[in-house]
Amino acid sequence: MSTGYHVVVCGGIVPDPLQTLEPVTGPTGPGLKNEMMLPAVLDPWAGHALYEAAHLAKQAQGSKVWLVSLGPKAKLQQVMMTVAQKVPFELVVLDGPGGGFTESFEVAAVLAETIRTIPGLDRARLLLFGGWESASRGGGTTLQMIGEHLGIVDQFLGVDSLVVGGDGSLQILERVEVAKHQVSRCAGPPAVLGWATGNLPEPPNNPQVGMANMRAIMPALQKAKPAKVGAEGLTYARVSLPKQQRETRIVKDLPVDAIAREIIAWIATA
């Protein structure tokens, strides 16, 4: 009898958060200025999902982790040089646009189809992981749609903790309003978990893991299927940067007591 979990992590790439972003409008709609030149990173919350997946796989013998990623192949290759050193996984690549202005409905369809065709994937043991939102579109909608495509109705969003019970059930903590966590018990896989930050720190780089991963990652990149993803029926009337430059009053050389009184007076005003 097979044991362990088959964990599929959906995670794209996003511009490095330290980069300045500027929207531009091209023939296919909005995008980012010099998008292909911007350094990219694995989407932060998808990264947390990947680390949680690897942690779970380590605990449950017979488990396996796949990272399914949609993005420009060349950018994915750059990002994988770093990500591959973190935890063991098998990469599944879809070569296509990875920006924030694509349509999650279309992204979900191609990702679901790709997951369906992963060789050896046991959907009865499937845990579909991902970030609860991306740092690009930021919708938090793709995972649920993939879950629907795959017929999974046990879905969780904003997950910070997953604990496997002795009976195989899953205890899941999801972020809800007012800094609380909702505690749920799910009978077991298949399930969809959109991860928030979780509880694990970013794993240190491990060159041995990196070398083992890269042996499969390079072929995966080479045979990446092109994915046609757009935004049919969606029209962006405008995309703009916020105009939030403020005239900052710099207060220097004011005694601490005066600053404190000024702050208190400001807080007190309606």
């Binding site: 980012l32 749609m145 109705v153 609380k180 509880n199 029209t235 995309v239 400001w266």
Partner: protein, 350 residues
């Protein structure tokens, strides 16, 4: 002509929370702008009668409800089944719902089931050229877009705090109760409860007037060459206690705590604001010891009045982003602030 469904869920005691009433306000506003459109209310919850009786005057032509013990839980399978039934019964072309954790989890899947589309974190809805248009942010609140869609149904989840709540009178509007058969697969998950910090450790208060943002500077060596983590914790908690402000933290500070460095033990990732954290809405924000550029500054994108205390007059967190920057030692300033607040609390007439 659109059929606008405002889809709400009740709270555990059967009432409607403020985000639900904001969604009603947004839906009514859109209906008024789109001539000839109609409004339908959908309710999901353990008990919906009390909520239904408050919505009679909202202008809805119909009120559809799915209720019962199975629908009291905030659970994907049952929420999705209820929402799907209501959307189909209403013949909705536009669905407006509050962006609560419950609906953010369930409704994107409904868009898939109905072959519709969904937009979350919507901050504005209006009619443009006779069709609905929404605005929302991309790249973690770093750019704003206005968009329209041709596909229907279009599910729109509005962020709390962006629309005025509907405040009309209740009245008679008989709910049409829908029966939803749940297969056994919908009962694989059970909600067992909520976990919350102890009352005295609750530092996140979404309704607070003030957001207090603590940066990693609180954990750095001070002028005497020592780290004053304990003092920092006392100053911050003291300020929160005296002002009932909500606490936010920069990523670097939250990460320090997460890595086991017990610098500010009450600071968790739930407090994090910025690029990979929350972007809370408060009328005022006071940032202390925060440093950084755009990725962190998005954390107070929706803070109306902003002030900052730190030692660097050129800090990217504050310059051009804050209204006032006090160039001073935050330890000294907050100690004095707390002392003055404590004095006032002790003698309220002063």
């Amino acid at each position: 002509m659109e059929t606008i469904l405002v889809l709400l869920h009740t709270e555990s005691e059967g009432s409607l929370a403020r985000p639900a009433l904001e969604a009603v306000g947004a839906a009514r506003g859109l209906m008024e702008q789109l001539g000839g459109s109609s409004l339908v209310v959908g309710l999901v919850g353990g008990e919906t009668q009390a909520a239904a009786s408050t919505l009679g005057g909202c202008g809805a032509a119909r009120l559809l409800a799915v209720s019962g013990a199975e629908f009291a839980q905030s659970r994907y399978a049952t929420d999705a089944a209820a929402a799907e039934a209501i959307c189909r019964a209403a013949g909705a072309t536009v669905v407006i719902a509050p962006g609560t954790s419950r609906w953010l989890r369930a409704l994107p899947g409904i868009a898939q089931r109905l072959n519709g589309r969904v937009d979350t974190h919507v901050t504005g809805i209006a009619a443009e050229q006779g069709a609905p248009a929404v605005s929302r942010w991309y790249y973690r609140q770093r750019m704003e877009a206005s968009l329209t869609r041709t596909q229907r149904p279009w599910i729109i989840l509005v962020d709390p705090g962006c629309h005025a709540p509907w405040q009309g009178a209740g009245g008679p509007l008989a709910p049409e109760r829908l029966s939803v058969e749940l297969p056994e697969t919908c009962r694989r998950t059970t909600v067992t409860g909520l976990r919350a910090p102890a009352a005295d450790q609750q530092t996140i208060r979404p309704d607070a007037e003030l957001l207090f943002v603590a940066g990693a500077g609180w954990t750095k060596k001070q002028a005497d060459g020592q780290v004053h983590g304990g003092e920092a914790a006392n100053l911050i908690l003291g300020f929160l206690r005296l002002t009932q402000a909500s606490l936010g933290g920069s990523k670097s500070l939250v990460d320090l705590t997460g890595e086991g460095q017990a610098v500010l033990p009450f600071m968790t990732h739930l407090n994090q604001v910025g690029q990979t954290g929350a972007t809370p809405r408060h009328p005022k924000g006071l940032a202390t010891c925060c440093h950084g550029e755009e990725p962190h500054v998005v954390g107070w994108r929706f803070i109306t009045e902003r002030r900052a205390v730190n030692l660097d007059p050129n800090c990217g967190w504050a310059r051009g982003k804050a209204d006032v920057l006090y160039v001073a030692d935050a330890f000294a300033v907050m100690q004095r602030v707390n002392a003055l607040l404590a004095e006032r609390a002790a003698s309220p007439k002063a």
